[in-house]
């Protein structure tokens, strides 16, 4: 077996390579690329929320609000030609992170139930700002006419984000970057402190973890990454609308993370694929299908708290343990 450290790196590299090869077979199907790019855009805030929900035990029900901050900062900067794509989305990410820290300072001292409800309130507040500040965000009508980034000449190829393949590759690159950040944060001393906070906050403090500082840091990082996802989504859809950062999207994001598998690296991406690509392909999610979907959620909450990825991982573990059991029998 490969030494423990390189196994995840190898599977990560394979996953990234697969992502980049996707346009080859689907170049001719812009609609499939559209659905996959949208999935990538949703996977980024999902990974951001996973850092909180899955790894630190913080349930934030207003997280798409931060994606909205990143989205609108990016959109306003690019639409009025103040800055090109890279500086705009960087500003959007930092702005979202700053708002995250601003919200975190007062709210992270609250007990868990209060914290959840306050994040819901913060999400509503941010949505109401997007929906009502007409002069800045275009209000309920949204902000149309956001330009796509200029083509990038990589020497061996030109990536033109104005074409479906180009914007897909841009989204894939940002996705891989965020995936690496998620991996680095989680598989580190910092990640171990977060896991300790999730399992037993009092114990973590008595081991010397400054619980508040750690929570604030991961909350700000998570908000920033959500902002990055929001900025990417707005540039991809070429328009920003408050509805994509409202309560329904907040709930959708929580479901993507929990159903996909909170507390795992690939869970959020699987969840995004299920929640975004699938309905997009099925197009109209009519009422009857949503009822079945709701029932599936209740069942999942009762019987598979670790989410689908948790189920898959458990099944894999069981498989391995069966194999090893068989192997041992063979030797004894």
């Amino acid at each position: 077996m490969l030494p423990a450290r390189t196994a995840p790196l190898l599977s990560g590299a394979l996953f990234a390579a697969a992502l980049y090869l996707v346009p080859v077979p689907f170049a001719g199907y812009p609609y499939v690329l559209f659905a996959l790019t949208l999935t990538l855009c949703y996977a980024i805030p999902a990974m951001a929320l996973n850092l909180l929900l899955g790894y630190t035990g913080l349930v934030s029900l207003g997280h798409m609000g931060f994606a909205g901050v990143g989205a609108y900062v990016t959109a306003v900067l690019m639409k009025h030609g103040i800055a090109s794509f890279a500086p705009s989305i960087a500003a959007g990410t930092l702005a979202a992170g700053f708002v995250g820290a601003l919200v975190g300072v007062p709210c992270l001292r609250l007990r868990s139930h209060f914290f959840i409800i306050v994040t819901l309130a913060v999400g509503m507040l941010l949505f109401l700002l997007f929906n009502n500040l007409d002069w800045l965000t275009g209000g309920a009508a949204g902000l149309p006419g956001i330009p796509r980034p200029r083509p990038l000449d990589l020497g061996f190829a030109v990536v033109d984000p104005r074409r479906p393949v180009g914007i897909y590759l841009l989204a894939a690159t940002v996705f891989v970057l965020v995936f690496v950040i998620q991996y680095a944060l989680v598989r580190s001393d910092f990640g171990r402190s977060l896991a300790a906070i999730r399992q037993d906050e009092t114990l973590a403090a008595s081991r010397g973890v400054d619980v508040f500082a750690h929570k604030l840091t991961i909350f700000a990082i998570s908000a920033a990454i959500a902002g990055l996802g929001g900025g990417l989504q707005v540039v991809f859809l070429r328009a920003a609308a408050p509805q994509s950062f409202g309560l329904l999207e907040d709930i959708n994001l929580v479901l993507i993370v929990i159903v996909g598998g909170a507390g795992s690296l690939f869970g959020p991406s699987l969840g995004a694929l299920l929640f975004v690509a699938l309905p997009e392909a099925l197009r109209v999610a009519d009422a009857f299908r949503m009822v079945l979907f709701g029932a599936a959620l209740v069942a999942l909450a009762l019987f598979a708290p670790r989410g689908l990825w948790g189920l898959a991982a458990a099944a894999a573990r069981k498989l391995r343990s069966d194999e090893s059991a068989v192997a041992r029998v063979g030797h004894s």
């Binding site: 680095a184 001393d189 910092f190 402190s193 399992q199 008595s206 081991r207 619980v211």
Partner: protein, 250 residues
């Protein structure tokens, strides 16, 4: 050299109940100290005030001369204070080894972030040897890779004590370590504590009801009654003190 631990007229009340009422004592020399007293004497509240789980209404607590009664828990820990919990807390999902290594990890946020991208595993390698040695001492060596959640209650308590010792604290506070432990493990715990004390020469304060265990272990006993320190001295003297007997027999 100033006292290692100095508690100066600490008071704490919940609503009308004065749990701790002007308790004071000083610990200058390394040793194993017992903190005993009848139920409701304020032992646990005083213990929580020293550890930081509760803030005192008045009075002060100093660790090696530094005032700690207003600091948050993690700040006191970084000054060399370590504690275990009456309800015995371990990271159930982590393996025993990871429990101990996590305790040894440098929790400074800045250095953690640097390690996130530096990926250096230096501290884990250096702490590994000591962690495995301590685990062997309490017969948990073979359970290194076992998640702490699968351990028995007694084993968890030993794991908790090992985890709090790995960071080489100056002051170790044990909250009723003997409760719920069968005699054989109790002896192993006593020997382990005596051995650790011999190696490290630190101050260990044990809040305990199990008289036989505490009297055989502690070199100095503090008796609390109605929120105040009633009597202190070597075990023999304290056992014969009339005031202590009256306090217990009421």
């Amino acid at each position: 050299m100033s006292d290692i631990l100095e508690v100066d007229s600490v008071s704490k009340s919940f609503g009308g109940v004065r749990a701790v009422d002007g308790a004071s004592f000083r610990i200058g020399a390394p040793g194993i100290y017992g903190l005993i007293g009848p139920n409701g004497a304020g032992k646990t509240t005083l213990f929580d005030v020293i550890c930081g789980r509760q803030f005192a209404d008045s009075g002060s607590v100093r660790l090696a001369g530094v005032r700690i009664d207003r600091l948050r828990v993690h700040q006191r820990v970084r000054l060399g204070l370590a504690r275990t919990f009456q309800e015995c807390r371990v990271l159930e999902e982590e393996t025993c080894l990871d429990n101990v290594l996590f305790a040894a990890q440098d929790k400074n946020l800045g250095r953690e972030m640097i390690q996130t991208f530096g990926r250096s595993e230096a501290y884990r390698r250096t702490a590994m040897a000591e962690a495995e040695r301590l685990l062997d001492l309490v017969n948990l060596g073979n359970l290194q890779a076992e998640p702490a959640g699968n351990l028995s209650y007694g084993q968890r308590r030993l794991l908790e004590i090992v985890s709090s010792l790995i960071v080489k604290p100056r002051l170790l506070l044990l909250d009723e370590p003997a409760s719920g432990i069968n005699p054989t493990l109790l002896n192993m715990l006593r020997d382990f504590l005596l051995r650790m004390f011999a190696e490290r020469q630190i101050v260990v304060v044990i809040v305990e009801h199990n008289m036989e265990f505490i009297m055989s272990l502690a070199s100095h006993i503090l008796v609390m009654h109605q929120g105040r320190v009633l009597e202190e001295g070597p075990p023999a003297a304290v056992q014969t003190s009339q005031r202590v007997i009256d306090a217990y027999l009421g």
